[in-house]
Amino acid sequence: MHRNQLRDRWQSYLDHHRFSARDSLKRLLSTPLQSLMTWLVIAVALALPATLFTSLDNLKVIGQRWDGAPQITLFLNQRARPQAVEALQQKLRLRQDVAALEYVSPEQALRQFEMESGMGSALSGLDNNPLPPTLLLTPAAGISAADLGLLGEQLAQLKIVDEVLFDRAWIERLQGILTLGERIALVVGALLALGVVLVIGNTIRLAIENRRDEITIIKLVGGSDAFVRRPFLYTGLWYGLGGGLLALVMVLVLLFSLSGAVASLASSYQSDYSLQGLGFSGSLLLVLTGTLVGWLGAWLAVGRHLGAIEP
């Protein structure tokens, strides 16, 4: 008997959860326009950081592709005589810290550029070749960062060398930017999440205000705080879940509309690179974040405003 009663209580506790969930969803759907507006606001606030993170992920993939052996590109003076270039090459080949050296003449560089950029005929109209003679230098394997820096400095001091470009430095700079970008995305994400919490909190506050009489009466006949809270927490949950799903759709549509352009751009660089999407876990994370933030907003609002309603 006692056991049965306990089971009944548990059963009806679950029933009330089910009822609250269904009832609060029904209430949202009974004012479709207003609910849709709230969902859209939440969705935009979630889609923005999600898009940021996705873009950063894509840049990271690009960075990793270039993250091979460090290479140094030496742009030589355009008026450097061939003999001087030849002498420089011989000198560099003797160095311990230089593993390989490749000379790209301005003519070769131009031809390569015409091919890869697909702008061949436009460039052939130029009177003189704007590209400098170039040396591609691969430092000895296992060279320390300090020695690499020293090598770069020494090369830069040579009169014949106009500019020293570290591929590595470019990657490091990219990685620095990515780290910065990630921080910014986190801050933006946190601010927008706070915005969602406030939007939902305000919406829930209005819902509580609208159902003031009901809350009073439930408290009068012995409803616990948890009982009174439940439907509003579900309301927040539905707002968050709906917003998260809408945000997911937005991001997917955005990525889909960009993927064509990215693919053709990548193929023009002879790259098989394609845009990375959110993936399953990313999508799940987005929707879950929305739901959680919605619930949290409701929880905060309920904590603030339900206590004020005492019969």
Partner: protein, 222 residues
């Protein structure tokens, strides 16, 4: 008992109501009848003195326990306090839903309570379409649906004609007959006198009478 504004609504009121007793609480408007009932169900807390319900000191009852106290006390409110967004049935079932009764058991009890107050045929209606007397009976059904040992009623016959009032009082007496303690705030002296029960008379927040009303009794003037 002092309200937040500083008004002393009840002072030096001391009495005891035994289990299974039926008492009336009377006095002019503003005497403190509602305040006294509110103290018993912790809608207000006593600023001084003690209120004991079933041996439990309400002063020391933590807020988290208030719902449990209210579930053990049936209350009929002066202004009915019904929900007009749901049926008569759902209004009466509310205390059982809160307590977590199995729907089958809840249905049985709701129907029994509605039968008792003569509203079984109106269970599907919205209370807003019912008359004042019928709404009051919905409130009574809700108050007794989880079989409380104590029933409080604040002016339950307030806006009703004499015939209806007497019907309602008969209902309360029937609950009392099966052992429920009943406390009714009312200033319907004629009706109270006919019922020959203990009467607590309040005047300006003080207890001025305790006992059955004799002949042309003295405590009221409302």
């Amino acid at each position: 008992m002092r309200y937040a504004g500083g008004y002393e609504a009840l002072s030096r009121v001391s009495f005891e109501v035994g289990a299974g007793e039926m008492v009336f609480l009377t006095g002019h408007s503003g005497a403190g009848k509602s305040t006294l009932l509110k103290l018993i169900m912790l809608m207000e807390r006593a600023t001084q003195g003690q209120v004991l319900v079933n041996g439990q000191n309400l002063n020391r009852l933590p807020a988290s326990q208030i719902p449990l106290l209210r579930r053990r006390i049936g209350v009929v409110f002066q202004n009915h306090q019904l929900l007009f967004d749901r049926s008569v049935y759902d209004n009466v079932a509310l205390p059982l839903v809160i307590e977590g009764y199995h729907p089958r058991e809840a249905a049985r009890r709701v129907r029994a309570a509605l039968d008792k107050v003569g509203l079984l045929t109106k269970e599907k209606q919205n209370p807003i379409v019912l008359s004042g007397g019928e709404q009051q009976r919905v409130g009574i059904a809700r108050a007794v649906v989880n079989k409380p040992r104590l029933l409080l009623a604040d002016e339950p016959t307030g806006n009703l004609d004499p015939a209806l009032s007497s019907e309602i009082m008969t209902l309360f007496r029937q609950f009392n007959d099966v052992g429920v303690s009943v406390m009714i705030a009312s200033h319907d002296i004629d009706l109270i006198r006919r019922l020959k029960r203990r009467v607590l008379g309040l005047s300006k927040g003080e207890l001025v009478h305790d006992g059955e009303l004799q002949g042309a009794a003295n405590t009221e003037n409302a």
